[in-house]
């Protein structure tokens, strides 16, 4: 029985990874992150019950939640408004919500059809593609006055940078799920292999390469697990601080430029990766290694070092225990480059946000804001994390929670729906309540506090997007993938099909194909403080 359970679990994990792979720039969906990453880290104050909508009549509103899954928990319900946790939530907050779960790709169709629910939830910030420019087109209600008056906890707890991402022309439009810690990704290593090789954990890029070489000698198939387009395979780019991503602009000589303009460091990073390629420390066919193959290798035990969200630790521990008995995984500080930098890009501080249709009448909007403010309470945190007391969890006399940790795909999906989808307006970095329940969870918390807190790469981002991006699709970076033009050249150089010393020419090509316009607009907006977000700790 147990065996079958775990088989189902493995399949479900694979399925969620597949779904994640389909969404190109949804930073919510990678791995199992969306299921485990929720809830405030601290315990915000605020009277729980009184913050819920005040009217005696239940607050009735329609709401759409974005999804990237085709076969998620929500899709399997015949009537979402009758779903167990929606009902429980309604009861708890005196609301009557009519939820729908909509594919992010279908959201523009929803807007085009002008059939827009009272509350629209969308991933990322106001310029996310799924919103199709709805904020700019005036579909939603400006919220800053309501927030000031009716959402004191949100105003206190949500970081300013997150509000900045939800602001357009001076008005706040979205109530965000935010990240108090922008650093989420980490370097994982198989400690058992490291011990076998008799080496300490690598600190610099040079150490790192030596460890990989030792792993290679031990017969590890993928000393460092690469992946197509350098997605989740950018530890070297991070060490040299040349990540070509959307929120990785920097100021150089009074101009705001993408970090890959730093030709010197880029060439060093590419040379390092070419060495790794030539010596077989990364797969010869990494240009075609997709998300499935990537996870398959890691979980199957054929990868030595890899980059992934810290929150995915339990996944790796579970799967490696099964596939490679005796294996041991650790999160280590990422190797640093010559300038002492290292790690991965800082995420923009918003993962998801709720927008209110401007056609909603003001009284109802006030109640919706109060409902969102309630999400900051302990009551909400316990509800979304553990469910209903007496049903899914019990509390000992000393307040210790006994929660049945979900095992089957159905149970995991149900928890994801309750704790990941329905839980709005909260800190999504990690759910300490939930992580505290087991050792792996505690390990992840510890890694966030001791490892991730000390690394990572800040940058400048623009919200809404630079308008020049839409003119030049090949030059447009995504959250964690570089512009096509840049990635193409990088891959070719690592494969030795183009000399690395050509990088300055690549920058020239980028500039002449429209990059000049991008840099000009970025610099202007930076100087005018127009939708500029400094993504830092």
């Amino acid at each position: 029985m147990k065996k079958r359970m775990s088989a189902i679990l493995a399949v479900s994990v694979m399925a969620s990874a597949v779904a994640a792979g389909c969404s190109s720039n949804d930073n919510n969906a990678e791995g199992k992150e969306s299921q485990a990453a929720n809830s405030p880290s601290g315990s915000p104050s605020g009277s729980a019950a009184s913050a819920t909508p005040s009217a005696d009549k239940p607050l009735k509103f329609s709401i759409s939640y974005p999804t990237t899954l085709n076969d998620g928990y929500a899709q399997r319900q015949s009537d979402l408004s009758k779903e167990k946790w929606v009902q429980a939530l309604n009861k708890l907050t005196n609301t009557e919500q009519i939820p729908t779960s909509i594919q992010v790709d279908n959201m523009p169709v929803m807007f085009a059809g002008n059939d827009i629910p009272d509350v629209v939830v969308a991933n990322n910030g106001i310029s996310d593609k799924s919103l199709a420019g709805a904020v700019q087109a005036g579909v939603f209600m400006p919220l800053e006055d309501l927030l000031k008056q009716y959402a004191p906890d949100l105003m206190k707890n949500v970081p300013q940078s997150a509000w900045d991402l939800e602001t357009y022309k001076g008005h706040i439009y979205g109530v965000p799920d935010y990240l108090s810690n922008p650093n989420r990704r980490a370097t994982f290593i198989r400690t058992d292999l490291l011990e076998k090789a008799g080496l300490p954990a690598p600190k610099t890029v040079d150490d790192f390469l030596n460890v990989l070489r030792a792993f290679k000698k031990l017969g590890v198939e993928n000393p460092y697990q690469m992946r197509a387009d350098f997605k989740y395979a950018d530890v070297i780019l991070g060490a040299y601080d040349v990540l070509p991503y959307k929120d990785q602009f920097e100021v150089v000589d009074g101009q705001v430029v993408p970090k890959f303009f730093d030709a010197d460091n880029m060439e060093k990073a590419l040379t390092t990766m070419k060495t790794m390629f030539d010596e077989g420390l990364i797969a010869k066919d990494f240009a075609t290694v997709d998300v499935n193959k990537y996870f398959q290798n890691i979980r199957g035990g054929s990868a030595g070092v890899w980059s992934q969200n810290a929150i995915s630790m339990p996944d790796f521990v579970t799967n490696l225990d099964k596939s490679t008995p005796g294996s041991k995984v650790d999160i280590i500080p990422s190797p640093v480059g010559p300038e002492g930098k290292g790690g991965y890009f800082f995420y923009a501080p918003v993962t998801r946000a709720a927008y209110i249709n401007k056609k909603v009448d003001p009284d109802k909007a006030i109640d919706i804001i109060k409902y969102l403010n309630w999400m900051q309470s302990d009551e909400a945190n316990y509800f979304f994390t553990f469910g209903t007391e007496g049903d899914t969890y019990t509390k000992d006399a000393d307040g210790k929670v006994n929660y049945k940790i979900p095992e089957t795909k159905e149970e995991i999906d149900e928890e994801g729906w309750r704790g990941g989808t329905l839980f709005l307006a909260h800190d999504g970095t990690m759910n300490r309540l939930r992580l505290d329940l087991d050792d792996t969870g505690k390990y992840v918390e510890n890694s966030f506090d001791t490892v991730l807190a000390n690394e990572g790469l800040p940058g400048i981002g623009f919200y809404p997007d630079l308008s020049a991006f839409s003119k030049y699709p090949d030059l447009t970076p995504q959250t964690d993938v570089g512009p096509k033009l840049i990635v193409d050249h990088m891959v070719k150089m690592v494969y030795g099909k183009e000399p690395i010393s050509n990088w300055p020419k690549v920058i020239e090509e980028y500039k002449s194909k429209g990059g000049d316009e991008i840099v000009k607009e970025a610099t202007e907006r930076y100087n005018n403080k127009d939708g500029v977000v400094d993504i830092e700790r």
Partner: protein, 318 residues
């Protein structure tokens, strides 16, 4: 769909009204039956054509067709100004051409071969086997082929290394193999399915013709050449014309699944470009303009080749 009233009108241009309507009255029920079909085509095929006007606008889903600003030919200008457009267009044309030259004849040959099989159970098995890949989605076919050709775990490279002692080749990491892979995967997936129509046409050939040919001393090859092929030529001509109409529509999925930075110089086609800019960046007007361009080229090709085939074979679509 051509109307049968045309000849009647041509005969008597000045005929009085009752006569003009006579055929309609005579076949009233049949005309009535045709109405749903006509309505279907009007509503679902012709009305949407007007949506193409957004190619001349800067379309926003919030303003709709009526309120989006008109921009004339800007979208088309932008398309031709795009630096890589010539590369993408020539890739599209070349791949379309290879598809026509190499993939189009395969089902014909395959149908002729299947037709020659005498053992019925074996024939059925072969037919089922060649139809099967058609029902797999491109994502799956792509996955299979990528694994098959992988330099580390792929069967092909194992054979190359073990049997021939050649170093592993990263087939998908090279511009020079991508077109072959694209066409080859198409042949593997769809040529079996393509035989259906030819086999149906072959079944319709009068057996007397073969008998007569045998009497004249024709062998099997000669029969194929002189009886089967001429008999299915009209079918071939029609399918050829239909294929020409879709010349630039090689398809998005089947290319996208194989593309990576190492082979996109030769593999990137209009469809994948439209996907990148249109669906990811939601530039509806721009991509409609590109789609319109493709359709116009397709229409021209059909008109030209239709005229050509009518002259050479006497067969044509209209």
């Amino acid at each position: 769909m051509a109307s049968s009233t045309a000849p009647a009108q041509a005969f008597r241009p000045h005929a009085d009204k009752p006569r003009k309507l006579a055929p309609i009255r005579k076949h009233g029920v049949l005309y009535l039956l045709s109405i749903p079909g006509i309505v279907y085509f009007l509503i679902f095929k012709y009305v949407p054509l007007f949506g193409s006007v957004i190619a001349f606008q800067n379309y926003s889903i919030f303003s709709g067709i009526w309120h989006s600003p008109w921009v004339g030919l800007d979208q088309f200008r932008r398309m031709f100004d795009y630096e890589d457009f010539t590369r993408i267009l020539s890739n599209t044309i070349l791949i379309g051409l290879y598809d026509l030259v190499f993939a189009f004849p395969v089902p014909i040959v395959l149908a002729l071969l299947i037709n020659e099989l005498r053992l019925l159970p074996y024939k059925r098995i072969v037919q089922t086997a060649v139809y099967l890949p058609h029902f797999l989605s491109w994502v799956i076919v792509g996955g299979i082929i990528i694994n098959f050709l992988s330099p580390t775990t792929g069967v092909v490279n194992h054979v190359l290394e073990q049997v021939f002692g050649i170093d592993a080749v990263y087939f998908l990491g090279d511009n020079s193999y991508i077109r072959t892979i694209l066409i080859g995967s198409g042949i593997w997936k769809d040529s079996g399915w393509g035989t259906i129509i030819y086999l149906a046409a072959i079944v319709g050939i009068n057996p007397d013709l073969y008998e007569a040919a045998q009497m004249d001393g024709a062998g099997r090859l000669r029969q194929v050449w002189s009886v089967t092929l001429p008999a299915i030529l009209p079918t071939i001509a029609i399918l050829f014309l239909l294929h020409i109409g879709r010349f630039l529509d090689f398809g998005f999925e089947r290319v996208f699944i194989f593309l990576n930075p190492l082979n996109s110089d030769n593999g990137d086609i209009i469809d994948t470009f439209v996907y990148r800019t249109g669906l990811i960046d939601q530039q509806y007007s721009y991509t409609t303009a590109i789609g319109l361009f493709k359709s116009v080229v397709g229409l021209l090709l059909v008109v030209i080749s239709n005229a050509l085939t009518r002259k050479t074979t006497g067969e044509s679509l209209y």
